[in-house]
């Protein structure tokens, strides 16, 4: 082996080592959560990185708790509703912002972007008043409303960028064929916007699924809670015992669907996110 080949080999080894580090860094916490969830509670504080015995006791425990099952159900309803509403409003808004020429269009877009910069805490109290005023306190509908407010700017922004790229002549062809704007959106644009919709829809879903602050503030009773809050409120046998096993089991349970969703849509997400970056 000469010098050149050696350097090449070294570079290669270095490259894969770096990848390994990144992988461990990214995956280890999740891996540890899975391991913990599968340990019997007696083993909990024995630190070891390999699983010797698999014990589903923690999972049985959380799924026999009615409030947790109920929380999963609430989360699904809330997240799906947010996705649906955000996409519906996002698509129609992006048509207006991307296609219809009107005065103040840029201003509207900038305001939308600006709004999405506010931290959640900043609007918490204001939003609380709104939700109480609407009679949506301790009601999943209140969560749907507040999550949509935070999801919509991003959705509108991405979909508008995407919509702007669709050729003008395509829309005009539809107009010549006698299509109304609604028909153009649903029959011509929607089928072409799946990548963007999958991206924004999934991100909206994840955001709604994982949201904690609003969910904690706007709900009161166990049967109205969503998963993140429910997990946080899982309590152990006594005041001094933190039930790590069940908490980890619950966390894994609610994360796995997300991972699967992301895997399914990953190619679309990439094409959706890069849309607008490069002209096709």
């Amino acid at each position: 082996m000469n010098q050149y080949q050696l350097t090449k080999l070294a570079k290669r080894v270095g490259f894969y080592a770096l990848i390994a580090v990144v992988m461990v860094y990214a995956i280890f916490p999740f891996y540890y959560a899975v391991i913990t969830s599968l340990k019997p509670s007696s083993d909990l504080f024995r630190v070891d990185f390999w699983l010797s015995t698999v014990d589903f006791g923690n999972y049985v425990q959380i799924f026999t708790q009615k409030s947790f099952v109920r929380a999963i159900f609430n989360s699904i309803i809330v997240s799906l509703s947010v996705v649906f509403i955000a996409l519906l409003l996002g698509i129609t808004a992006s048509y207006a912002l991307g296609r219809v020429r009107f005065r103040g269009r840029t201003t509207v877009l900038l305001v939308i972007l600006g709004v999405s910069m506010f931290p959640q805490v900043a609007v918490l109290s204001g939003l609380f008043e709104v939700i109480r005023g609407l009679g949506l306190y301790n009601n999943p509908a209140g969560l749907i409303l507040s999550y949509t407010i935070f999801t919509l700017p991003f959705t509108v922004w991405v979909l508008t960028t995407f919509m702007k790229q669709l050729p003008m002549e395509l829309e005009e062809a539809a107009i010549m064929d006698g299509a109304t704007p609604w028909v153009t959106i649903t029959k011509v644009f929607l089928p072409l916007m799946w990548p963007a919709m999958a991206t924004t829809g999934l991100l909206a879903f994840i955001a709604a699924w994982n949201e904690f602050l609003f969910a904690l503030t706007f709900t009161l009773t166990d049967d109205q809670r969503t998963v993140p809050v429910a997990i946080a409120l899982i309590s152990g046998g006594s005041q001094h015992e933190l039930p790590w096993g069940p908490i980890m089991a619950a966390s894994v349970t609610v994360t796995v669907p997300l991972v699967i969703l992301v895997m399914i849509f990953q190619r679309r997400i990439v094409s959706g996110l890069t849309a607008g970056a490069v002209k096709g």
Partner: protein, 368 residues
């Protein structure tokens, strides 16, 4: 099928006036081609007729109906776009059926119409393909099929062939011409390819800066251009222009003096012009003969292009001037560097006044 009638049509975008008081008559079944330099308003005019742009002033009639305020679908027009604009997620069949379904036609009618259109355009084999599985020429035909399927009263084309390569363009040009013969429908076609204009049109409309420069048959435009602009725009290679001075005129024609050509007796009526005025003389490359140089009136041959069937000879009047072009059948005896005399065929020479309008033929010459 229908006629189209534009009177005093105007289009203003913001503060720019694009189409200015335009009058035009398109007869039933006519094939009309809009030509003109880029940005002169060809597409805008077509889109005004289609209903994709609103009319700022004037009246647009299709058939007997004033359609100014009708949306495109109620005007009975079909349009073929430059980029084809086929719906990428639909098959050829669905592309053509889309408009028919939106018009709430019965399923059988839709099927019949699509099939009939597909037969005319030889698309039957391709009905179940998506646009991305088609060649450029096939996409072009689908785009035409989609516009035709609704049996519009008028078919509009905006540079439909400009995305095709040269040989396919010739082939599609032919197909469009045959289609027009077969269907006899009214067609309006925008192009800046003058060969397309000459070969397809019953009537060519030359536009310039939102105004009509001249309307006429290809032959009229070629033989009797009304202005220097039309003369230079129609014909390839373009007409040669040279300065000329008016020496005198009578009922039979006029006499001019052009540098390098000497004195010429021309059939134009220059009675409206003052003697000594500067005119422009125009000669098409094929109406310019070359002869052995004699005396001062000679030009140097700077280039000879051999095209197989014909030869273009480029001459330089004076260093730095625009080149003059002579065109003749191959083979040619002329060589680069030779000095030659130019002899225009005076019966084919055009004269333009200071405002670039063509001078009419004198009565005697016109009668002959």
């Amino acid at each position: 099928m229908a006629s189209v009638n534009l009177s005093k049509i105007n289009k203003v975008f913001g503060s720019t006036h694009i189409i200015k008081d335009l009058d035009l008559e398109v007869g039933n079944g006519e094939f009309v081609v809009f030509v003109g330099p880029s940005g002169c308003g060809k597409s805008t005019l077509l889109r005004l007729i289609a209903g994709l742009e609103s009319i700022s002033g004037g009246e647009l009639k299709i058939g007997d109906d004033v359609v100014n305020d009708l949306p495109p679908r109620e005007r009975g027009v079909g349009m073929v776009f430059q980029s084809y604009a086929l719906y990428p997620h639909m098959t050829v069949y669905e592309n053509m059926a889309f408009g028919l379904k939106l018009a709430k036609m019965a399923k059988e009618t839709v099927d019949d119409r699509v099939m009939a259109t597909a037969r005319i355009l030889q698309l039957e084999e391709l009905l179940h393909r998506k646009p991305k599985e088609l060649s450029g020429g096939q996409r072009q035909r689908v785009a035409m099929g989609r516009a035709m399927a609704r049996e519009p009263r008028i078919l509009l084309f905006d540079e439909p062939l400009s995305n095709l390569d040269a040989s396919l363009r010739v082939q599609m040009r032919n197909e469009i011409a045959r289609l027009h013969h077969r269907l006899g429908s009214t067609m309006i076609y925008v192009t800046h390819d003058q060969v397309e204009a000459m070969t397809l049109a019953d009537k060519i409309v030359v536009l310039r800066d939102g105004r009509i420069e001249q309307v006429g048959s290809p032959q009229t435009l070629y033989q009797q251009p009304a202005t220097k602009f039309v003369a230079g725009f129609i014909g390839s290679p373009t007409m040669n222009f040279m300065p000329a001075e008016l020496l005198g005129s009578d009922g039979d024609g006029c006499k001019v003096k052009a540098p390098g050509l000497g004195e010429l007796a021309l059939p134009q009526d220059a009675s409206g012009q003052r003697h000594g005025t500067d005119l422009t003389l125009g000669v098409r490359p094929e109406h310019l003969r070359l002869a052995e140089a004699r005396g001062d009136n000679s030009f140097e041959i700077v280039n000879v292009e051999y095209l197989g069937n014909e030869v273009y000879v480029y001459l330089e009047p004076q260093a730095g001037d625009t080149l003059l072009i002579h065109r003749s059948e191959a083979p040619s005896q002329w060589q680069i560097g030779q000095r030659v005399a130019l002899v225009p065929e005076t019966e084919h020479v055009h004269l333009f006044d200071a405002d670039d309008r063509a001078l009419p033929l004198a009565k005697a010459a016109a009668a002959a």
